[in-house]
Amino acid sequence: MPEAPWRPTASLARLRERARLLADIRDFFGQAGVLEVETPVCSVHASTDPALDSLATRYTGPGAPDGRALYLHTSPEFAMKRLLAAGSGPIYQICKVFRDGERGRRHNPEFTLLEWYRPGFDPQRLMDEVAALIRAVTATDLPVERCSYKEIFQRTLGIDPHKAGGDELKSCAAAQGIAGAREAELDAAGWRDLLLTHRIEPDLGREGLTFVYDYPADQASLARVRDGDPALAERFELYLGGVEIANGFHELANAREQRDRFAQEQARRRSGGKAEAPMDRNLLAALEAGLPDCSGVALGVDRLLMWILGVDKIDEVLAFPLDRA
């Protein structure tokens, strides 16, 4: 019988690097005067994002004699916004988050996220801080590049992602030789994701840090949408070595708009054959009470560690990935 796979997939040297990285991140925020917080991993509410699936568990006991479903958070965003609305000031959290269905070379269904919020910061100022953090923890002076979402599509593919419709995006994918593009059925956002992941991302962040900002409004997620032609989502992503490392927002603070987006996401979940997720009423109440104008960002700690160590499989920086969990 083969030996049970009890050994860690990351070497002990790499696990020591992980510990050092976590300590350096805490040092950075300690010096910046940002408060470390903890929020529940398990919640009665879940993300409604159609691109995310929550893992679920069950609590039975005092207060729930018949048991009730609890969802493992996909990010600590909602709870942290409730702290911000309660007047916490700048906060950060390092925690495990959970996403069903995500496993691959760069994905593990549970992974470590660093998430922080800065009242009074606009996205550009938060990008400055993300760059400062990464330079500090990598002890490097990496150059920083900032490109709009439109620029990266135009320079690589020669199309305007805000004006191109589904058909044009599909033709572009086929012309780019992405096999399967002729058969796939996707909406415009799906086609943009296909082009981004297959033809643009691999070249991003090769020389240093590449921030991509101003996303299409239909990919706003929890970011504010700035009026204009086209309307743009005040969202940014950071790429390092061709890999998506962080995602940030100028946080949506309008309760009514947040409620509408929840409803739209539920509708997209239904039309995609997914169950509705129990939307977070506590977040809506917090937004009603007033979220300070702020920007926030979530950064994949495992992927940052992969870049620091020069490895390309997430398993090489995790003690026990899914197959050994």
Partner: protein, 190 residues
Amino acid sequence: MASYSTNEFKGGLKIMLDGDPCSIIENEFVKPGKGQAFNRVKIRNLKTGRVIERTFKSGDSVQAADVIEVNLQYLYNDGEFWCFMDTQTYEQYQADVNALGETAKWLKDQDICVVTLWNGSPLSVDPPNFVVLSITETDPGLKGDTSGGGGKPATLETGAVVRIPLFVQTGESIKVDTRTGQYVSRAKED
């Protein structure tokens, strides 16, 4: 017909693609943090041997290919087909020149081959890794040369041509690695 969802994809899985049976070589999960997930897959077309890349939307399904590998004994070639037999059931299979490809030049009757069957018909035939074949024709070597550096061509009983050391002569049997087409050693008499 059975189908597989992208969550079942892994190396070696046999699927139908554009009407041809294929085998998955590599499966990569690609997903933006806030966006559509894809499976980016490397696939070998089992009919042509060509390796292609294909992207699927995660969650989509593809038809399974009824492809199995069996060990069959080579019996004879009737001029058009190569005939193989399952030594357990005595069932016979006929493979055409497309299924044989380069394998034909290594086959000697009674050899056991790995035959890939698609819907019950031979799709490809892999010869044993090592075969023992006799030399039907080669130039006489130079006297005194025992090192075999350089070598010379030799035609084998099946028609294959391999390079052999100078000291090996017509009529001898040699062991050949069919994966590389290279001479391994003289075959032991047994």
